[in-house]
Symmetry: C2
Subunit: 333 residues, 2 copies
């Protein structure tokens, strides 16, 4: 296992310590239970956004804590759901009296634990709305999921809803907006290589030197099929076609196109992929009006890519463009 770490059991704690000393202007990290809150939390009168999930998907979610995006993130161990005590402590720490939205990726453990935390928070008088993101069109049920998995649309929902919360929209408005983003977003990913969970020390799955997995999950969960390596154009077609056909996205639609590295795929390849996606969408009459290209929801050092399309309207575009200041996404400030 080739990783820049110390003891495998300390990776999450030490990465969080690194976050804390790197970004004290943006966020604060609490240990035991672990959670990250924006430096100025709680912001009085503003709806607070809390997300979380297993670690190993950096910069998601901790790297999206800050002005214009998340108020708090709860990092679990690698590929392991955070616990309800992390979520309840984070929820209490960021509640500014206007309620809290939990943005939850659809994995069984995450959903169960966030539900428990929401119940506990409500018992303490905090209004909580939970929104589950389930945008991955690859498979219906999966290894850790009943229904579709939550992937790339989560990043977009956190940005867009973060902007709405800064605008002092109400709890119900922000939660409804999050559901709208989920309804308008679809994703699918693929892997060229497996990742290695530090505590396991060996690849999560085996792939031949001439194979790739289409429809992979962000924990290495099985996808739709294993296939021989193919040119980027064919890979993009395999990912984008099910995404487009699902809503379906239609001629004349304006979309945000998000090309995401699974962690080990470098920028030069992301632009080759983006170029193929652009041509494919242009051929279908779908117009990319915003984009995001980089490593934003990863699977440790997995080589591979995911494609997310989000159907935009004026409201979503305006909120996407609004200022954001987090370690992972920053503009306008």
């Amino acid at each position: 296992m080739k990783k820049l770490i110390n003891r495998p059991e300390d990776v999450v704690t030490e990465a969080l310590q690194g976050m804390a000393v790197a970004h004290p202007d943006l966020l604060k990290v609490t240990f035991g239970p672990n959670y990250i809150v924006r430096a100025d939390a709680p912001v009085q009168g503003k709806v607070a956004l809390v997300s979380g999930g297993g670690s190993g998907h950096e910069p998601m979610h901790g790297g999206f804590v800050g002005m214009g995006m998340l108020d708090a993130a709860c990092p679990g161990e690698v590929f392991t759901s955070p616990t309800p005590d992390q979520m309840i402590e984070a929820t209490k720490a960021v509640d500014g009296g206007a309620g809290v939205v939990h943005i939850v990726k659809n994995y069984t453990g995450d959903v169960m634990n966030f539900e428990m935390a929401a119940d506990l928070a409500r018992g303490e008088g905090i209004e909580v709305e939970a929104v589950v993101i389930d945008d991955d069109v690859a498979v219906q049920d999966s290894l850790y999921t009943a229904g579709r998995r939550g992937v790339g649309t989560t990043v977009l929902a956190e940005k867009i809803c973060g902007a709405a919360a800064e605008d002092k929209q109400s709890l119900q408005q922000v939660a409804d907006l999050c559901r709208k983003v989920n309804a308008n977003g679809r994703s699918m990913g693929m892997a060229l290589t497996s990742c290695i969970v530090p505590s396991a020390g060996k690849p999560t799955f085996e792939l031949g030197d001439d194979e790739m997995e289409i429809g992979i999950g962000i924990h290495g969960e099985p996808g739709r099929e294993r296939r021989k390596l193919a040119p980027a154009g064919e890979v993009v077609e395999s990912l984008a076609t099910p995404v487009i056909d699902d809503i379906p996205f239609q001629e004349g639609d304006e979309v945000l196109a998000f090309v995401n590295s699974m962690g080990g795929t470098p920028t030069i390849e992301l632009y080759v992929v983006y170029n193929e996606l652009y041509k494919l969408l242009e051929g279908r009459g779908i117009k990319i009006t915003r984009n995001l290209i980089g490593a934003y929801i990863t699977s440790l050092e997995m080589a591979g890519v995911s494609i997310t399309l989000l159907k935009l309207d004026d409201e979503l575009t305006r909120l996407w463009d609004a200022p954001v200041q987090t370690p992972g996404l920053r503009w306008g400030v």
Copy 2:
């Protein structure tokens, strides 16, 4: 070779096409000869900054074209110097009458071709100053270099000098500032795995499953030594100690600490590395007042990391903080 590409010989062109359609608001790409200029070039009365080098180091340099950073970038084939005709065309395209600074990483081909382009540009009446970046303390001479290689400090020089050019500083001032950044910056990198140049189709070098290379170059040039894998703390000590001892950085210094992924190392590991670097510098009384953590000067999909320290003063800090709007670095706008 597992890469998201089409034909190996088309990688650079297709990645540039991807850049062009992804960022028309920020930059324009010209093909044959290939160069990238900011969308509003030439900016009249402003010193223009041109850089370039082999492709495979993305987002450097094309991803740093835009307001507050580079006016133009000349991308060569993968790990191959761009040609003088690219540089002269780029120089002419961005000259706004106040002169042009060429920021050149110290590799023999880059230096030679930029010198030729500068001579040609001067012959056409454009004032050109060239600054060579040679910040890599790993080795004195290397495979493609007489003297030290140019690495991470290049990114910092492009940002800081870009801000100075926006301030309408003179050609001499911007060039002198670039030399100051080079004098104040030192770097060293390491690799856990080799990269694969697309046209070669096989690893540039072989490393055992239990080995790493300390002092690697960004094209896989040999470093100081091969060593057994070690914990992140030891790796950071091996990189940071020669960096600190070189200038030397001293107790009381304020620095920008730049932890860079070589391409295949994910964000979670970068924060483990940053945490170790922070502790080491704190122990020496060196204060990190700014940082940059991510993949900014890569070596295709190489797993590994480089550390750059830049000694800051009020001038450099102010220019670092100034607004920038490029695909690779963006804040303040």
